[in-house]
């Protein structure tokens, strides 16, 4: 199974503050451990929302807004994509993240094909435009 682990933004990450050297090194060590265990598929940090845009879709009209965006708790700061046999396993692996200042991460499962039920067509002629990761 695959999972996405999202890091919620903080005031620091939105302000573009780089973490202290120690935390950087702990994070690198954490990611190395995930890679050593063969379960790390991707991990990226994201720049603050001042370097981002929002698009809103309303009955055929698209509105584009420039960042930054005020509601920090709606934002994400980075993500991992990991492999695991269960959500409990991912929770257990991420329990040891070197975070200690109230940061929040969220673990989500990837859709499996059966989630789409009858909407899911295997006919090559009928691509539903799904991106699979």
């Amino acid at each position: 199974m695959k999972f996405m682990v999202l890091v919620k933004a903080t005031a620091d990450s939105e302000a573009g503050r780089i973490p202290a050297r120690e935390q950087f090194e702990s994070m690198i060590a954490f990611n190395e451990q995930l890679a050593n265990d063969g379960v790390l598929l991707a991990c990226e940090g994201l720049r603050g929302s001042s370097k981002g845009n929002r698009l809103r879709f309303d009955g055929g009209r698209t509105t584009v807004t420039d960042g930054p965006f005020a509601e920090t708790k709606e934002l994400i700061n980075g993500f991992w994509i990991v492999q695991g046999k269960s959500r409990e396993e991912v929770v257990e692996r991420f329990r040891h993240l070197p975070f200690e200042r109230g940061e929040v991460i969220e673990i989500r499962e990837f859709h499996e094909p059966e989630d789409f039920g009858e909407v899911f067509s295997e006919d090559p002629q009928e691509r539903a435009g799904r991106i699979t990761l």
């Binding site: 050593n36 379960v39 492999q83 929770v91 257990e92 295997e122 691509r127 799904r130």
Partner: protein, 413 residues
């Protein structure tokens, strides 16, 4: 709680067993000690909660048990050797980093021992999944449609074989590594193939085994970053796995590579595979896994079947035929030749394989020959070949596919 404890075992057991194996020089004993520690965890953690550093807790528990056993054993020499570097246990929870210092070396040693040539390939697979994959005997049995008793027996026998052969707990170097590495890679690849293209039963695909193999391969690539064939194997597996979302039709039958909807290919895995292949290429001449990965990469890079560089694939198969000549490689080469240069050229290659003993039970030979004959217009002969393949195919889905092809010959299209 149950699932979390199981997850902790899956994460920690390879390191635990590896470190204990180094201490005791006996993989079987190490595994027993680890299993005992796990039983203690199952008994205590539900009421006490999961420890902050579960790995350290398990190691302490296992070490204590080992020291107890050693004290009861009579050989003074053995006692001295094992107790020499153990500080007295003072009741504090040891630091995780110190517990598992240099653990990578031990995990690598464990990998080589689990795949020792003195064991049968099936035993290596079972031991690898148990000791390094962190799978339980029940999980292995389920994955291989076997009984737990059978798998347990196989593992017991394997541990005994290793003990009797006095297999050293070491990482082979130099010339010895050249011979000891292929069985390691083969074990991982066997696990992958059982998950990706199951040989028996009604399911073509067992995704959990695919993930286990990928995980083991990636672990190996981190443990042996300078071995080109390790990266080659990882590249091959990542790219093959990328096709999984496109491989099965809604009725569960297999869709051939050239008929797959490429929009469903997992592009993250393709990127990972191409990265691994690039690492292999940087390290030196390509071995068989890297060459196969290069072939898979040709397909992965083609947005449509028509965009495939078939001539490059033929050239890669020519290379493969030199390094690892085999009838199966010849057969695969013939398929590429057929597309790049026409069915007649390919049929010439396949006709030379018809009497090869090792392919007599291989359903893909008559299947390929049937396909080539069909393209040339020799429908009667094509049908006979598809029926021959049908009789040999072990997988229900393959049989259904071959029946359809045989029927097409009868109907003239």
């Amino acid at each position: 709680m149950q699932e979390t404890i199981a997850a902790v075992w899956r994460i920690e057991s390879p390191k635990l067993i590896a470190r204990l194996a180094r201490m005791t020089r006996d993989v079987g004993r190490a595994e027993d000690l680890a299993a005992d520690a796990f039983v203690a965890a199952l008994a205590q953690w539900p009421s006490e909660g999961i420890p902050r550093t579960p790995g350290a807790w398990l190691m302490t528990t296992a070490k204590r048990r080992l020291i107890d056993r050693v004290r009861r054993e009579k050989t003074l020499a053995e006692k001295t050797e094992l107790l020499q570097n153990q500080p007295p246990y003072d009741g504090t929870e040891p630091d995780f980093a110190a517990t598992y210092e240099d653990i990578d070396d031990d995990v690598l040693r464990l990998m080589f021992v689990a795949c020792h040539p003195v064991l049968s390939p099936e035993a290596r697979v079972a031991l690898t999944l148990k000791l390094l994959g962190g799978l339980t005997t029940a999980e292995i049995a389920r994955a291989y449609l076997s009984s737990e008793a059978t798998v347990a027996q196989r593992i017991v026998r394997a541990k005994r074989t290793l003990s009797e052969a006095r297999v050293a707990f070491e990482v082979p170097e130099g010339h010895e590594r050249l011979q000891r590495l292929p069985p390691v890679l083969e074990a991982v690849y066997l696990i992958f193939n059982e998950g990706y293209a199951a040989t028996a039963g009604n399911d073509v695909l067992r995704p959990e085994l695919v993930e286990d193999a990928l995980r083991l391969g990636r672990m190996l690539a981190r443990l042996m970053p300078h071995e080109t064939e390790v990266h080659g194997l990882v590249a091959l597996m990542e790219i093959h796995a990328s096709r999984i979302p496109a491989r099965l039709a809604s009725d569960g039958s297999a869709i051939l590579l050239l008929d797959q909807d490429r929009g469903k290919w997992n592009h993250l895995l393709i990127e990972r595979g191409l990265d691994a292949l690039a690492r292999a290429e940087r390290l030196g001449p390509l071995g068989p896994y890297a060459l196969q990965a290069s072939i898979a990469a040709c397909h992965a890079r083609a947005a449509t079947p028509d965009a495939t560089d078939w001539r490059r694939i033929v050239a890669l198969y020519d290379g493969l035929a030199v390094i690892t000549p085999s009838p199966v490689v010849e057969l695969n080469r013939s398929v590429a030749v057929g597309i790049a240069y026409g069915p007649e050229a390919a049929l010439a290659i396949v006709d030379a394989l018809v009497d090869v003993p090792s392919l007599h039970a291989y359903h893909l030979l008559p299947s390929v020959r049937g396909d080539l004959l069909f393209k040339i217009g020799r429908l009667g002969e094509a049908r006979l070949e598809f029926e021959r393949a049908l009789a040999l195919a072990g997988n229900a889905r393959d049989r259904a596919f071959l029946q359809k092809r045989a029927d097409e010959c009868r109907n003239g299209r």
